[in-house]
Amino acid sequence: MTWKHALARLPRLLPAAPALLLCAAAAVALASRDLYLADTVTRAMLFVLYVVSWDLYCTPSGDVSFGHALFIGGAAYAAALLSTRAGVPPWLSVPAGAGLAAGLGAVVGGLTLRLRGAYFAMLTMAAQIMLGRAVYLFSGAFGGGEGVIGIPPLAAGPFPTMAVCMAVGMAAYAGALAFRRSRRCLLLRAAGADEALARASGARVWRDRTAAFALSAGLAGLAGGLQAHAAGQVTSEMAGEWLSSIVVLLGLIGAGMGVAGAAWAGLGYVALQQLLVPLGGYDAVLTSALFLAWIGWTVLREGRPAAGWAVPHTPGAA
């Protein structure tokens, strides 16, 4: 193989780049026995999964889910309550939480994906706010603002925990990449671009959309359940509006580069959070200002939020 051939093949390796970077960081953490780095790598891996799970359905379909924390937080609370109240071990409570999130996704998708667009976006937002309110309303079960504490760890110590999160996360990332290259995803994209044509071509649009959204919700739930066990606690923030909004904005920023773009956006956010620690309470302002600048510049200058982001239906839009 000549160097020209090798260079020509480089773009095909780009989707693996975020995963390689995370693996390298994990190796450094292990080699240097750096607890802080291990914790950061774990959080980064799980945050990448949040954004990738959003991207899995929303980017190909063109629908925007404004309430992704419903699945992340719902699964985290489910895993936490199963572990602390019923003594279910993490290897069972995490998949159970992911399954619950996938079921929720199937219900929400099944109810709304015939209409899509703004109805879907607002319903996901309303359902997520409901979960946020339920945390306080049923504080006996959910622990209110303090959340659920004392959740058993995934493994003994931060390094094995990082290893478990990395292994599950990498498998999920590979699965997301495979889904984006699958025929099902192609049908999802086709339906997002021209639903009538997709139906005419024999695609079962509603069924495919619902299944893909359930998969996306299940992946978000998997990350949420892992986060609950890795952190040892679940707070109301995991089911909150801020997390939902950040995931949407990161998903839109990364949408132009597929799954890898979503992963880069998630990694970039965690890195930015580390850089902005000295700013204290102002880190969220600067982060959201950067989001606004990026999206504003892209929308107003280039005329589209991100390359590859399809057009959702808005009520009344001609």
């Binding site: 925007v64 309303a126 909004s245 959201s288 606004l292 929308v299 005329g303 959702p312």
Partner: protein, 291 residues
């Protein structure tokens, strides 16, 4: 009991109606889902707080709040007009992009307010002191203030849309934008007015609500979701429909709060919103914009 439920429904529904009327008008005329509309509610509440704090030394407390309420409404209108010029106008032909941009604006506004004010609980004194007793239930006079406001605003809006050349231009844009443009309607000028008026109404709702609740940066979110549900039930661009749906949602919340607790009323109303959105009632009624 019945009288107090009716009055509470009127109070709560009037607050929702003030926000939802503007939301319905913008959605109907501009065909843009302005997710930042609920920020005007937030803006009105915080501007009233800031205004009364500035004027407190110079005027009696109630007068300071009254002046601040008027000022906040005017500032909300100005902010709405600016928002239209800077963000909505460039995305008028791409409503889905407006959706994303509005979300980014909302996130930034929430973060900025949170950072500026921290966890401080801000309280605004009422314009009208005291309370009235209706069928054993106590209602603050400040709460009742919103009812005459809606009684004044709704006929005014109806008259504006039905009997003025500006209203005809708004309806023309809502029903057939291409034909309206060919007939010489200045789309940008007309829509800037609609967005500014909608922002003023939401700002006024926020200003009137400011003395009744603890101000929080994220309080725009339930307002937005409920407004969307109201518009979904009431029909796109239908002011009468929005008004009716606002009172319907309020009635559900009030009945729930009487039967259970106030905290559970919002949960139940959100559940109703989810069911309404799932049913997609507004989709069926889209073609009736301002008809």
């Amino acid at each position: 009991m019945t009288a107090s439920v009716l009055l509470e429904t009127l109070v709560r529904g009037s607050g929702y109606a003030l926000v939802a009327l503007g939301f319905a008008a913008v959605l109907g005329a501009a065909r843009v889902l302005n997710l930042s509309h609920a920020l005007s509610f937030l803006f009105g509440a915080y501007a009233t707080y800031a205004g009364q704090a500035l004027l407190r030394g110079a005027l009696p407390a109630a007068a300071a709040v009254a002046v601040a309420t008027v000022g906040a409404t005017a500032l909300a209108a100005l902010a709405g007009w600016l928002f239209f010029r800077l963000a909505l106008r460039p995305t008028l032909d791409r409503p889905e992009h407006a959706l994303v941009l509005c979300m980014a604006v909302n996130v930034f506004a929430t973060a900025a307010l949170q950072a500026a004010l921290g966890g401080r609980a801000l309280a605004v004194p009422p314009v009208l002191e005291g309370a009235v007793r209706v069928s054993g239930a106590m209602l603050l006079r400040q709460e009742l203030l919103v009812i005459p406001v809606v009684v004044l605003v709704f006929p005014l809006l109806h008259h504006l849309l039905s009997h003025t050349s500006y209203g005809r231009a708004v309806r023309a844009l809502a029903q057939n934008p291409q034909a309206a443009l060919l007939a010489g309607v200045d789309r940008d000028r007309v829509l800037a007015g609609v967005v500014a008026a909608a922002a003023a109404l939401a700002g006024l709702a926020g200003a009137l609500q400011a003395p009744l609740r603890v101000l929080a940066p994220a309080m725009w979110l339930p307002v937005l979701v409920k407004s969307f549900a109201v518009v979904t039930v009431g029909g796109l661009g239908s002011l009468r429909g929005a008004l009716g749906a606002a009172y319907l949602l309020a009635a559900l919340e009030v009945l729930t709060s009487h039967a259970l607790t106030e905290a559970s009323s919002e949960f139940v109303s959100l559940a109703a919103v989810v069911m309404v959105l799932a049913a997609g009632a507004g989709r069926v009624r889209e073609r009736h914009a301002f008809a």
